[in-house]
């Protein structure tokens, strides 16, 4: 029973970070039609900045604020400086462009932090909850709560507010949206900043429970991407829930089937299944009506 609880708990907290990253990817996709494969870097940046500031004597809370701000700025900068001048590019080139940004971010992290692992004390103190013999922490529950709240809030924002609907409209048709008085550029910056913020948030909550290294971003991005793909790149709440499911699946496979098989199998099989179920088939090749 203890093992089961532990498996569920660790699956959920990992899944929560996949969900937050996936949510960020959905937001970026819905505002610009770009699959943001640098989304996981906001996690690395926030984690490393916070750890660095904590070790230089700042309080954890203040360091966390700085870390999350850095991740938010990274998100905004990605949109403003890299993507905005090139939005007319075909999507396959933009994907590689974002990968190049991710590589640069990893390069900076490697240069600044080196290959060692970093961590810091939990924001909520080091309180521990024993649930049915399994050791859990407050931070873990906060993380799970945050992902559900963020998913619900973003869904509400995108579907129920004028600003959010404007954001969706931007991706559908930027030129018409701007003619209708929507500030397309602003919407994009907001979406990318929020995505960066969410990635940073997942870092300050998750890193105390595990650790962060300079190259943590890419694998996190890919799992977040699975979550986003399971939500058909549309539903923010769906991405969060899918992230939890991915985390649980990974955790259960790792505990009960084969540790080696866990991550790649989850990634691979879930992606293929998701795509085959969700991908609309090409009927006549035309997505556009004549």
């Amino acid at each position: 029973m203890t093992l089961l609880m532990q498996t569920i708990y660790s699956g959920l907290i990992n899944g929560a970070s996949y969900g937050l990253i996936g949510l960020g990817i959905v937001l970026c996709y819905r505002s610009t039609r770009v699959v943001n494969l640098a989304q996981g870097e906001s996690y690395t940046i926030a984690g490393l900045v916070t750890a660095g500031l904590v070790s230089s004597g700042l309080s954890v809370a203040a360091a966390a604020v700085c870390g999350v701000s850095a991740a938010t700025v990274f998100g905004a900068g990605l949109e403003r400086l890299v993507l905005r001048p090139r939005l007319s590019w075909p999507s396959e080139r933009l994907i590689i462009l974002v990968v190049a940004v991710a590589l640069c971010a990893e390069g900076i992290a490697d240069y600044a932090a080196g290959p060692s692992q970093y961590s810091f004390a939990p924001l909520t103190g080091s309180g521990v909850v024993i649930l049915d013999g399994a050791v859990t922490t407050y931070d873990g529950f906060v993380l799970i709560g945050v992902v559900l709240a963020a998913g619900a809030a973003t869904s509400w924002f995108l579907h129920r507010t004028v600003l959010g609907q404007g954001m969706s409209a931007c991706a559908e048709n930027p030129s018409v949206s701007s003619l209708l008085g929507i500030n397309v550029s602003l919407m994009r910056v907001i979406a990318y900043s929020v995505a960066g913020f969410l990635g940073g948030l997942s870092a300050v909550l998750l890193v105390p429970l595990s650790s962060v290294t300079y190259n943590a971003g890419l694998s996190l991005t890919l799992l977040g991407y699975v979550a986003a793909a399971l939500a058909a790149m549309r539903s923010p709440l769906g991405a969060c829930l899918a992230g939890l499911v991915v985390g649980l699946a990974e955790s259960f496979l790792g505990t009960y089937v084969n540790q080696l098989l866990a991550e790649p199998l989850v990634l691979g099989v879930l992606m293929v299944v998701a795509v085959l179920l969700l991908g609309r088939r090409i009927r006549f090749g035309g997505v556009v009506r004549a």
Binding site: S91, E106, G107, M271, V272, R283, A290
Partner: protein, 626 residues
Amino acid sequence: MIPQKARACAPGTLSRHLRGRSSWRLAAVIVLAASPFFGIPSWTVGTAVLAGIFGIAALAVNVLVGFGRMVNLGGASFLGLAAYGAVLGSTRFGIPYTLAAIAALVAAALVAWLAGGVFAKLPGFYFAVAMLGVSSAIQGVLEAFPSVTDGDSGLTTARTLPLGVVTVSSDLQWYAAVVVITLIAVGTVHLLVRSWRGRVLALVREDQLAASVHGIDILHVRRVLFTVSAVLAALSGVLLARWQGVVVPQDAGLVQSVQLLGFAIVGGMGSLAGPALGAGLLTWLSNATSGLGNIELLVYGLIFFVVVAYLRAGVVGLPGMVLESPLARRLRLPGAHLPGGNAPGRPGPAPAEASPPARAVMHTAPGGGRTGDGGSGLAAVSLSKSFGGVRAVNDVTLAAAPGRVTAIIGGNGAGKSTVLNMISGVEPPSSGKVIFDGQELSVGDPVERARLGIARTFQTARVAPDLTVEENVRAGAEGVYGLALLGRSRRPGNDLAGRCRDALNATGLEHIAHRRMAEIGGGQRKLVEVARALALRPKLLLMDEPGAGLSLEELELLAGLIHGLRESGTAVLIIDHNLDFVAGVADSGYILELGQVVYEGDATGLLKQAEWPVGAAVTPAGGTGA
């Protein structure tokens, strides 16, 4: 790549521009091939071998991304599978490596063909995600069964390459072998994507809808590309295993896949020499930056970023960029010109004298001699279509007979385009059926319709902007022949070129045949679509607002064409708002209102009936012709 068509190139057009570039590419390949002997730091024979092997894999990715616009984030899947298959076959079962490698290639082709049936259907980024998943799952499975695959440490094998009579072992021998194999791979792909296949591919890439109504089976094309790509990746894999002397799960994994896509894009998407150049540059870069310690990844990342962000056409596009830069133009370097700006003759109006041949040209039997008697034409029986709760078309029954021009008129939102889409198979009807020459057509299958001799045009022209007018017309006509990988039986015959020329003459486009689509006006683009449809020698021609956006001269030309088609026994079905134009060409027609037929009868009655309030600007007076 536009070889063997020198005669088709007007001076100073894009074609010459491209040919200039392709010779540069050839030079680049030669330089790349000979480069280990130039004393470039860190560019050793070993690096060159690796670059060549990765170049083949990157070419595999480029076949999908560059020629089919299928973003492949799992390019390493088949590479890793084939490498493991060949090594396992030779070490565990004692099969000679050459045989095992060939078996791996054949297996890759078979698996890709079967899997392609599913994967080729995935649109857009779903394909990318699926391939990413496949790549990652393969790596996972390879890691998870250490008893067979030796897990993370990988399978070791000899660092020699037995090639039948000779065995390659020294670095220099490897180098020679890889250069030859890479050139063969590039040459094979070149044969596969040049001339008519290239045009068909371009049409599929640019506009799948237009491609499918011209009889191009898009799924088949994508499946063929997928298979070709898999075989190339497998070839790269069986070479890589022997060159490294070991094959590890990461060879099939995600990082490798992303890297391969990076090679293809840095080199230049859709080019043949590009992937090898990209692989060469990045392999050299990672070699040159290794040993920089902490800063290695940053330097690599920055250079990668600069190439992706600032060299739009990749490394192969570099000389073009240099030649077209303002500096080069100021210095008047040879080849420095505004692209397309100096083509002979300004756009100008279509010459009126082009219309007389229209009639003559179209006198040949409809359907390209497929049938002598015109058949019974088209009948649509109680077609209905609902979008959500909106019933856009409600129980519409209509017919279009051979040798007659039938018009459908109606206000905006009356359901005219939806009717045409259902007839042409672009949209499946909610209920009802379409019968052509006594045969019921399958639901939503534009390819079948094209093969039966039904052609259509679109409200706004759907063409491949990077091809010339002539190439667009030919691509459409060639589409019916499918993209047979090896089959020659259905290859377009010589008469096809003649047909296309006739179609261009008939539409008065021959004087701009070699201009790129992006350079010509909207009315002319629509005429290109008409020419493309005519080149199919259709038995039934569906036209969606053919007159919209045309100049008076062009309208007159079009009317002449339609008369010619009627006399040659073709059935023509036209949708239009322009009552003047309809009056000039139609024999009979239908009026649609709110998705229902409210009038059917001859043209005179049609126009009388049509004095509705909708078109205040419309004058249903006597027509221009007839």
